[in-house]
Amino acid sequence: MSNVLFLADFSVIKPDPGLIFWTTLIFLLVWVLLGRMAFGPIQSALKKRENDIQSALDEAKKARDEMAALHTKNEELMRQTQEERAKILKEAKETKDAIVKEAKEKAENEARKIVTNAKQDIENQRLAAMTDLKNQVGVLAIEIAEKVLRNQLDNKGAQEKLVDDLVKEIEMN
């Protein structure tokens, strides 16, 4: 088989206008139909999904950060609360102590006052009793002295001696 013969049989290298026409038509149809129907929507769907995934990741990260911030805040709050509690407890203790101390002082004062009053009363009673006793003793002394004098003055020398003793006593005072 000569080369020419080979080429003559090799029909696929000869572009057939009918085949060109149909290829053009079919390819255009596929291009337009698939572009409209499939490739366009698929492209936008893929893009949307990628964006969705990215925003979901971003949101998750944001939420995590927020959680962490919230956690820190909670801890701070807890710490503050504990401080507050400790402070309140301390204050309450102080108040209690103050009240107890005050009450004690008041009671002591009262007691002292009562004691003082009682002493006063006792003193007063004692003085009254003393006055009374003195008066009684005076009266008794006068009565005794009257009886003695009546006995002694019956004798003249005894009288003179008495007067002398009295005088002496006065002089000594």
Partner: protein, 427 residues
């Protein structure tokens, strides 16, 4: 303003180029007439038989060429064919439509059209009767053309007289042995049928995928959706985005995806060895030419000011270099889609030819059915190699679709890119 002007200029140049390309193709028609070589050996070639397993002689090259060629019917097995619609146009006669079964495999001529080896041919002779006529057979002869080359020609024998048959018109301008003949074949051929099937399959599958995105909105993908999402994301992230750039890639993603999947499905359909596969769609230059032209148009209609400036008056280099570079760049404009066309066509055709050759070993070793042992050896060796080749072809089917898509994307990327003139220009 500048961009629009350049675009108009581009269309003008393109139209001019097409006119000039068409001229020799038409001129070719005149010297396409052949004369029967006197005393050339002529062997009758009954069309009811297939090219292989004919009258004893096994013709490996003819068989392979017949199998990779387009056809107007689907050959299922010996004697069983699936007819396809035919749409034929002859300038002097008008349109003829029907089913390829009406030709009865070369025994009936309809309006001068006959089926020769699965392909429609036409009797150009005006004296041949119109309507349905019975022809005795189709003859194959060696003829000498006006230039003195020997070539093979086919003749329809009707009432003892041989009428020369014209093959369908092709647009190679006679360079590849074709040219404009007396009729054009716009039929739903085997290749067109396979392409329609691939297109329907694509539409059906991607409709389901797109529905999945609606159904599973805001949810994880499922089923067929997740299977094709891998491809979509791969083409987007490995092809469109790096090649075209972040700014423009979304606009071209449907085109790149359509290219990739259309080519891949056609390639894979071609690997199915029986109906509805087996058609050598992407191994036919008409198909790859069309796809390359699509890329060419998409690239050049989206060319930015920088792109045209880099072609016609490259900035940043001395004037005398520009005089050399500009023609090179203008040539490059056409060489790029041309390389796309040839690469895909050659790869897929070569794959089909290799597989068919390996299968042909069975018939060669079997010495046309006389040597059973040889046929068995051929079957083992050929079968193993074919299995191996099929795996390679599976890879090639994916790879070539990917290569076509990534190169188209890179050409588009070069067209829409906004250059920074301080950086080195890679070419």
């Amino acid at each position: 303003m500048v961009k629009v002007d350049i675009r108009q200029l581009f269309v003008l140049v393109l139209a001019l180029a097409l006119t000039m390309a068409a001229a020799p193709a038409v001129a070719q028609h005149d010297d396409h007439s052949t004369e029967v070589a006197s005393g050339a050996e002529s062997h009758d070639d009954h069309n009811s038989h297939e090219a292989h397993g004919d009258e004893g002689e096994y013709d490996p090259v003819g068989t392979v060429m017949h199998h990779i060629a387009d056809a107007n019917e689907f050959h299922v097995w010996k004697g069983v064919h699936i007819p396809l619609p035919v749409i034929l146009y002859a300038p002097e006669h008008g349109w003829t439509t029907g089913l390829s079964s009406m030709f009865e495999h070369g025994h009936t001529a309809v309006d001068g059209y006959v089926l020769n080896h699965g392909r429609i041919n036409r009797v150009a002779d005006a004296s041949f009767p119109k309507g349905e006529v019975h022809i005795s057979h189709i003859a194959h002869k060696m003829v000498v053309t006006a230039e003195g080359d020997t070539t093979d020609a086919y003749f329809a024998t009707y009432e003892g007289k041989d009428y020369a048959l014209d093959a369908p018109s092709t647009l190679d301008g006679g360079m590849m042995g074709g040219g404009i003949t007396s009729f054009y074949d716009f039929s739903i051929t085997k290749n067109v049928f396979t392409m329609i099937l691939a297109a329907l399959l694509l539409i059906f599958i991607f409709n389901a995928v797109a529905r999945g995105y609606k159904k599973n909105e805001g949810k994880a993908p499922s089923g067929i959706q997740s299977f094709f999402e891998v491809f979509f994301v791969f083409i987007r992230d490995e092809v469109s985005r790096p090649m075209i750039g972040e700014k423009h890639y979304e606009r071209f993603q449907p085109f790149i995806m359509t290219l990739f999947f259309f080519i891949m499905f056609c390639n894979l359909m071609g690997l199915i060895p029986f109906f509805p596969g087996s058609a050598n769609v992407t191994g036919n230059i008409a198909v790859t030419l069309t796809l390359a032209v699509f890329t060419f148009f998409v690239v050049n209609f989206n060319g930015k000011k920088d792109y045209w400036q880099h072609i016609f008056w490259m900035p940043g280099i001395p004037g005398w270099v520009k005089i050399i570079l500009t023609p090179v760049e203008i040539l490059g404009l056409f060489i790029r889609p041309f390389s796309l066309m040839v690469r895909l066509f050659a790869n897929i055709s070569a794959g089909h030819i290799i597989i068919l050759s390996l299968i042909g070993l069975i018939f060669l070793f079997g010495e046309n059915g006389t040597n059973t042992g040889g046929a068995a050896a051929g079957a083992v060796v050929g079968g193993l190699f074919t299995a191996f080749m099929n795996l390679i072809e599976l890879l090639v089917a994916l790879l070539q679709a990917f290569v076509f898509a990534i190169l188209s994307a890179s050409y588009i990327g070069a067209a829409v890119e906004e250059h920074h003139h301080d950086e080195a220009h890679a070419h």
